[in-house]
């Protein structure tokens, strides 16, 4: 695929196979990171941000619609995580569920503080569309899937995003990345297996 096609499809610039993220992956669980944040560990806070920032921005965009306000809400969410980390109790639920609740509360609080009306979860959908329960379910699924994507090695995460959301065929992806088509399929298979392991609860 030539550069012109890449520009037309608004692709990200090609990333190197290896990255700092790959070789310095933090093996701590989310719950462990939250406990460290509660102790004032700013490195753990940054790692938690790396894992969840896109998920938080995703639900903020669903909830608010406006990109600038959603970005503010994302930062508000992490400020809230910093302040309330000591209140997280692993015995009462998964870390990702707690973070999801903190994010939703921070987004709603931000809207209330600015006296701005909340936007429907799915403003882009005309009737008939999903009701509130469906929208909440979709938000939760997106949250879990986007978080799971962050657990993949960089090269597999990029590949999944290209395969599902760039509009490229597998052959075009192979050409774009400069790797054999068979390798694209092998890596995609590996990525989906990892996601299946990570999202075991969602598959049940």
């Amino acid at each position: 695929m030539d550069a012109a096609v890449a520009v037309r499809l608004d692709l990200p610039s090609r990333k190197a196979d290896a990255s700092i993220r790959n070789v310095t992956a933090d093996s701590r669980t989310d719950a462990e990171l939250i406990a460290e944040v509660a102790e004032g560990d700013s490195v753990a806070f940054e790692e938690l941000h790396r894992r969840y920032a896109r998920s938080v921005l995703g639900i903020a965009l669903r909830r608010i619609g406006d990109r600038g306000r959603a970005e503010d809400a994302t930062q508000d969410t992490f400020a809230s995580v910093w302040r309330s980390a000591s209140r997280y109790d692993p015995a009462r639920g998964e870390a990702t569920s707690w973070l999801y609740t903190v994010a939703r509360n921070a987004i709603v609080d931000g809207l209330r503080r600015r006296r701005e009306p909340p936007v429907d979860e799915t403003p882009e959908l005309a009737e008939p569309g999903p009701g509130p329960d469906d929208a909440a379910e979709q938000g939760w699924v997106a949250w879990r899937v986007h978080r799971a994507l962050e657990t993949l090695p960089e090269q597999e995460r990029s590949l999944v995003e290209l395969a599902y959301w760039s509009g490229l065929s597998q052959s075009e992806i192979a050409e774009y990345l400069g790797i054999p088509l068979g390798t694209v399929k092998t890596r995609t298979r590996s990525a989906l297996r990892r996601l299946a392991d990570e999202l075991e609860d969602e598959l049940e």
């Binding site: 990200p12 004032g40 700013s42 806070f45 940054e46 938690l48 941000h49 920032a53 896109r54 998920s55 921005l57 995703g58 965009l61 970005e71 994302t74 930062q75 992490f78 400020a79 910093w82 302040r83 979709q138 699924v141 997106a142 879990r144 899937v145 986007h146 994507l149 999944v160 995003e161 395969a163 599902y164 959301w165 760039s166 509009g167 065929s169 597998q170 068979g182 399929k185 092998t186 995609t188 298979r189 989906l192 297996r193 996601l195 299946a196 999202l199 969602e202 598959l203």
Partner: protein
């Protein structure tokens, strides 16, 4: 654009039926979730964690902080209307700071850049030689550090930076490095 039409096109045909069915459910979840948003540079990193350190504000400092909060709020509200220009940037606001023993300072705030940095210039005089830190405060507590600087005899001028949303704070203080007792307040 919607996701791929055929999972087999993505992963090949060599999978066992059970495995294909399992990956098929992940395939469906990915299509249901849609793409995660890209992070803009402005939120590519976690916000600076606020400090929880508590400082013993004397009563006069508390009143000073309240007054500073009002001044700061008004000043920052008006700052957006000011237009910089010319070869030398003009501060959008100048804050006066005072301390015991005749120590004084002026803090110039320059226009915030796209990343959220507020460039500043601090001019201090009357402080004992040593190293100090400038902090933003919230409700009588040191809340966010804005840099350290050294003071010798006479007046000292240093550039500093506040990469924070200033409206979330209510004042500024200067403390000696390692101390929580303000020697200058707005």
């Amino acid at each position: 654009m919607s996701g791929p039409r055929d999972l087999r096109d993505l992963v090949g045909d060599e999978l066992e039926p059970d495995e294909l069915e399992r990956l098929g459910r992940i395939h469906a979840l990915l299509e249901q979730a849609g793409p995660p948003p890209e992070l803009p540079p402005s939120i590519a990193h976690a916000p600076a964690p606020p400090s929880e350190r508590v400082i013993p504000f004397a009563r006069r400092y508390r009143y000073g902080a309240l007054a500073a909060a009002a001044i700061l709020a008004v000043a920052l509200f008006g700052a957006g209307y000011l237009v910089g220009g010319g070869p030398e940037p003009e501060p959008v606001e100048r804050l006066a700071m005072e301390g015991s023993g005749g120590a004084t300072a002026e803090l110039d705030l320059f226009a915030k850049d796209e990343a959220g940095n507020w460039p500043m210039e601090l001019r201090v005089s009357g402080l004992a030689p040593g190293t100090y830190e400038l902090w933003l405060t919230r409700e009588g507590e040191l809340a966010a550090p804005c840099g350290a600087f050294a003071v010798a005899a006479g007046e000292t001028t240093v550039p500093l930076n506040a990469p924070f949303k200033l409206k979330e704070f209510d004042g500024w203080v200067v403390v000696p490095t390692g101390s929580e007792l303000p020697v200058l307040t707005t």
